[in-house]
Every structure is written in C-alpha cells, then in structure tokens.
Amino acid sequence: MTSPQRPPNQRPHTQRVVVTSPRTRAPRAPRPYPASREIDEQSELGAVYMRSLIRTQRRLGLLLCAVVCGSVAALPLVFTLAPSVAAQRLLGLPLPWLLLGVLVFPVFVLAGWFYVRQAERSEREFAELVERS
C-alpha cells in the first residue's frame, strides 16, 4: 500500500494494514472448552444447545405431519359433507380416484423432500453453532 508518488531517496516505510476476510468454515483454534464437550458432559450450556435442536426438529416434524396428513385426512369429511364434490370428474377420472389414486403420491414425495432439506439445514446450522463456539 505504498503511494506511487513517493519521494526518492526515502526508504519505503512500513505500515500496518487491517486485512478482513469473511468468516470461513475452516476449523479455528479450539477454545479451551468447546461446545461439543459441553454437550458431552451434560453441562447446563450443553443441555440448552440440545434442547434448541430438539425443539426445532420436533416443530418441523409435527408441522409437516399436521399440514400434509391433516389436509389429506380431511378428504373423507369433505366427501361426506359435500357429496357433489365426490361426484365431480377431472381429467376423465372421478375426483376421489384422481386425488387418492394419483395426486397424493407426488404430494407425499414433495413434502418428504422439503422435510429432508429443512431437517438437514437445521442440523448443519447446529453443527456450525457448536463448532464455532
């Protein structure tokens, strides 16, 4: 970082520069007490870490089941209360057959894919949190 118009005969002076860089995932020097050890040794802090992870995963799992299974399981009620819906035809198939015989399966796969993505993400965030501290 020397200026181009430096006067001649003068020794280039040294200068301190602060170099910043984004935080990397490279392992850093271990803290005297890493969080993984807190978890292993069942300290208060470790328990807090684990509780937060379990709570996140439980909420995700229950939410997914409630939304997907709940909406699928609402169908018998719909068919009973509104028989005209059950008599509809779509794409040449009666609606109940189309929904229960074909469409639910891709919905399940999509929901599963979404769950796996979210669950792995929260585990990754947890791992980063533990390794960083």
Binding site: S36, I39, G61, C69, V72, Y115
Partner: protein
C-alpha cells in the same frame, strides 16, 4: 386359471430368491452381518429393499381386491401405507437410526434402560410380526390355489420353507439383496400387465367403468365354488350347472330367484352372458356408478371406519418390526432420512397400479363378487382380458410377482422376528441361536393359518397396523421427542393401547364377519386404541416423574445430534 406358465413363474421366483440369497451367503460371516448387513448398504439399495419388503401380499393382491369389491374408500389403504413413511420420515427415521439398536426392543432398552419396557416391546413386536405374517402365508396359499388348484396350505408351506432356508443361510445381508431385487420384480410384474390390460380395454371399446349398470357376466361364465358360499341374487337368473344349491341337488338347467341363496362346496354353475352377477353377502351390491363413489360401502359407521383406517396406517408403519430393522442398515441418521424419501417415491409409483386392476375387474372378472375370492382379481384378470399365449404369460408374470410379494415380506418379518426371539425370549447367542429362532418364528403363523377363517388379506394386515400404531408408535414418538416419558408410563401406554387392539384383532380373526353394531370397532380398532395408548403413556409419565430413566439427556444427545460433530456420546454407534 390353471396354467403351466404360472407354475413356472412361481418356481422361477422361488429358485431365483434362493440363488440371490446364496450370493449373499458368501459375504455374511459375523453376527453383525447377519443382523444388519454391517450397516454398509447405500440409500438406493436400502430404499429398494424397504420397498421390496413392505409391498406385501396386501399391497400386491389385497388392495386391488378390496377396491374391486368396495370402491374408492379402499384407496385409503395405499394412501395410508405411503403416508406412514412420511410420518416415519418426519418423526422417527433419523433418531431411530442414531439410537444404534438392532431391533425395536433394542430401541426400548437404549431409550429407557429398563428390562421391563424392553420385554413389553418384545412381546408386541412378536405379536405384530405374527399377525402380519399370517396373511402373507394365506395369500401365498390363495395364489398357488388360483394358479395350480393346489390346496391352500401348500402355498403357505412353500413360502415358509423358501424363506426359512434363505434367512437361515444368509441373514440380513442376503435379505437386503433379495429384497431390493424383489421390489423391481414386483413393480415389473404389476406394471407391465397394466399396460396391456389398458390397451385391451381400449381394443374392446373402452367400456365405461362407472356406468349405471350392475356388474354382469361379460360372456358365458362357469363359476366353481371351493367352499360353501352364501350370496344374494338381485334378479331372476337362469343357469346350468351341477352341485348343491339351497340344499337341493341340481344337474342341468335351473334358475335362481331374487333373494339369498347358498351353494355347497364343489358346485359348478354356468351363467349366461349379460346376467347380473350375484354378490356374496359381505360385499354390497352396487351399480358401477355408485360403487365408484366414496362412502357407499353400506357400513354402519363409514366415517369412523375410514378414519380408523387412516390412523392405523399413518401411524402403524413405524411400529412394524420388519420396517424398523431395515433402518439400522443405514450408515447414519442422514442416510436414513434420504432412504425414507426414496421409499416414498418407490411406493407411490407402485400404488398407481392396483386400483386399475380393481376397476377393470368390475367389467371382466365380476364372478369373483359371487365366490368372494376378491383377492384373486389381480391374478385372474390378465388371462381373462387377453386371449391366448399373451394373456397366459402376463398371468404368469403377475403370479410370479405376487409370490415375490409373499416371499419378501415374509423374509423381512422372519429376520426381525428371529432377531427378537433369539435376543429377548430365548436368549440364544450368536448365529446358531438366530437360526433356531428363525424356525420357531415361522412355525407359529404356519400353525395359525390352519385355524383362522377367511378374512380379506388387506383387512388382516390392517389389524397388524392397528396394533403397531397403538403400542409401539407411542413408544417411539413420545420416547424420541419427550424426555418426560418414564418407564412406568411407557409400559402402561403400550399395554393400554396395544392390548385392546390385539384382543379386537384376535376376535375379528377368529370370529370372522359379524353383523353387530360394534363390529366395526373391533375390525378397525385404531381410532380408539391409538389415542388411548398415547394419552395413557403421557399422563402416567407425568404422574410418575421419579421414574424418568437416569441419563435421559445423554440418550437424547445420541438420538438427535448430527453424527459429524464427533461427540463422544455417539461413539458407541
């Protein structure tokens, strides 16, 4: 449908299964290999294996038969069987794998560190396994009976022998290969004929499947009765035949009047083309357009029946011992999740097929409504719709696939049952104990097949699901997600949910159909037993807070922390 090709197909499947199993024998050496294939199975292999194991007789022949008889309400079976895996994925898959146990009792012990919880879990795992094995053996009997005319016990015996030999020789490793192979075999066997059946249906003029008429004989049809059959006739029907009708000897031309009739075993009646098909009493007599609507099964509490089925299948999958044991073959929790996701896809593809058989059966094989052998619709349809060699070959393919279904599900059940038996009940050690337990595991249901009456295959499997959902599902879900569950609560919950479901199942199986108003609460117990199990387990746990197993937090770390942290708590895995 007596055909040489069918016998050949069944033989090929049986021998092929043995050969693939022997290939596995060279690799499996240690006890760990025997139980869980040393946990070296990749997600795709594992998912195919789970699919192969899961698609049982109920899926291959049972669902199509029930849809054929009762219409779209029965679509909840395939939907529930698949949704069960979604629930399993979201609530159980990864923690279950991380618990690092071999069988469900192992999980109970890892989580609760209590011999009594383990013992109760073992008893339920055994009961569910046997309840599930029974319809597999019955289905095998039905298939061999349809293909060759052999008596029902022959098929059950063949499946029992092939599976026992296979499990004894190779254990889980060979089973993983066998199962993965079986999934693709089953998918081929059910999907290829569908293409030809739909083409044939178009070639025959694509008749309306949901027309306003009753099912009628598509051509002159001879119906043979293997057992005494009671059925309902809705219009005056002339026929020719020989046998015993309503207690009177018949030989030659005769007619059936409107009303109920009974035909003795061994009778052969021939009906003219276009006559309306009489129905056995257990199947509602509906025109095809009414049949195609939901909630028209004529049950007394249709909404209760459907919701009970939904609860049983959505929650029961995770409690099936042979499904759970398969998760231990994943290398880690993450792979367990990915495996489950692939399984969802594989099951979804397979379950597109059975409803097509069920619907086409209304047009082409309606006489099954008269004999009550509705489970045979998948087996009979190809040779009925397609004339000549092509139909026979497709029929043979389906028969082979059906047999694969019995073999694979029975294999998986045997491995898990033998695991539970050898470790918990008989307390045998090592490979020899496992082999001995395998033999015991098959003898019980084989004996039971001789005793039980005719309950449709898929209904019986539904009972196994109900017991699993009311006993082991609360144990898994509450055990994984709550650290308040106590040993007393776990035992109380399993007993409170599982025992009534088990008793209801036993009553249904031994007594068969009944007309009482409470009948549906016994055949579909899940809607009341599952909440009972969950509530009792949680409430009793809250009442006995001193019985929380020691070290529960440590266990929770093992179940939920990702493996890549290098936690010492997970070192034992």
């Amino acid at each position: 449908m007596s055909s040489g090709y069918g016998i050949v197909a069944v033989l090929v499947v049986a021998v092929g299964t043995m050969l693939v199993g022997t290939y596995g024998l060279r690799i499996s050496r240690t006890t760990s290999d025997f139980f869980v294939a040393s946990r070296t199975v990749s997600p795709w292999w594992n998912a195919s294996a789970i699919g192969g194991e899961y698609l049982s007789a109920a899926s291959f022949v049972g669902i199509a038969g029930l849809i054929f008889a009762h219409g779209p309400d029965m679509l909840w079976f395939p939907v529930g069987y698949t949704a069960g895996y979604l629930v399993l994925l979201a609530l159980v898959a990864a923690p279950l794998r991380r618990s690092g146990a071999y069988t469900l009792p192992d999980f109970a012990e890892a989580r609760f560190a209590s011999p009594s919880v383990r013992a109760v879990a073992s008893v339920f795992a055994l009961a569910i396994g046997w309840l599930y094995l029974l319809p597999q053996l019955q289905g095998a009997g039905l298939t061999l009976n349809t293909v060759t005319g052999a008596p029902n016990w022959v098929g059950a015996l063949v499946v029992a022998v092939v599976v026992t030999t296979n499990v004894i020789s190779g254990g889980m490793r060979s089973i993983t290969f066998v199962q993965a192979f079986q999934y693709w075999l089953k998918l081929t066997a059910i999907a290829v004929p569908v293409v030809f059946l739909v083409l044939a249906w178009h070639a025959h003029g694509a008749r309306d499947l949901t027309g306003p008429q009753f099912p009628e004989f598509p051509k002159q049809t001879t119906v043979t009765f293997d057992s005494d059959t009671k059925f309902q006739v809705s219009e005056y029907t002339p026929y020719t035949g020989s046998g015993l009708v309503d207690g009177q000897r018949v030989d030659g031309d005769a007619e059936l009047t409107t009303g109920d009739h009974i035909v003795a075993a061994g009778s052969r009646l021939t009906f003219p083309e276009g006559a309306i098909v009489p129905h056995v009493l257990s199947i509602p007599s509906n025109t095809n357009d009414v049949w195609a609507l939901p909630m028209r099964g004529g049950e007394r509490f249709p909404l209760y029946a459907v919701y009970s089925l939904i609860i049983a299948t959505f929650l029961g999958t995770m409690g099936l011992p042979h499904v759970i044991v398969r998760f231990y073959t994943n290398p880690n929790g993450r792979a367990a999740r990915r495996t489950t996701l692939i399984v969802l896809g594989l099951l979804g593809v397979f379950y597109l097929m059975p409803p097509i058989y069920g619907a086409l059966g209304r047009l082409y094989t309606p006489e099954l409504l008269m004999t009550g052998d509705t489970d045979a619709v998948v087996l009979v349809l190809p040779s009925r719709m397609i004339d000549g060699l092509g139909g026979q070959l497709l029929g043979a393919l389906v028969a082979g696939g059906a047999f694969a279904a019995f073999l694979s599900t029975s294999s998986g059940l045997m491995v898990s049952l033998a695991g539970v038996l050898s470790r918990d009940v008989l307390r045998f050690r090592g490979v020899r104990g496992f082999r001995l337990s395998t033999v015991l595991a098959v003898l019980v249901p084989l004996g039971m097949t001789l005793l039980v009456g005719r309950v449709p295959v898929a209904d019986m499997v539904g009972l196994a699901f109900a017991v699993a959902a009311s006993s082991l599902c609360p144990l898994l879900v509450l055990g994984i997600w709550s650290n308040r569950i106590t040993t007393v609560g776990a035992v109380a919950g399993m007993l409170a949910g599982g025992l009534p479901a088990l008793v209801a199942g036993m009553v249904t199986i031994s007594a068969g159909g009944g007309g009482a108003w409470y009948h549906v609460f016994l055949t579909r117990p899940a809607a009341w037993t599952v909440p009972l199990g969950f509530v009792v387990m949680y409430v009793v746990s809250l009442l006995t807070p001193r019985k929380v197993p020691p070290g529960v937090n440590h266990v929770m770390v093992r179940l939920h922390a990702p493996e890549n942290l290098g936690l010492r708590s997970q070192d034992r895995l």
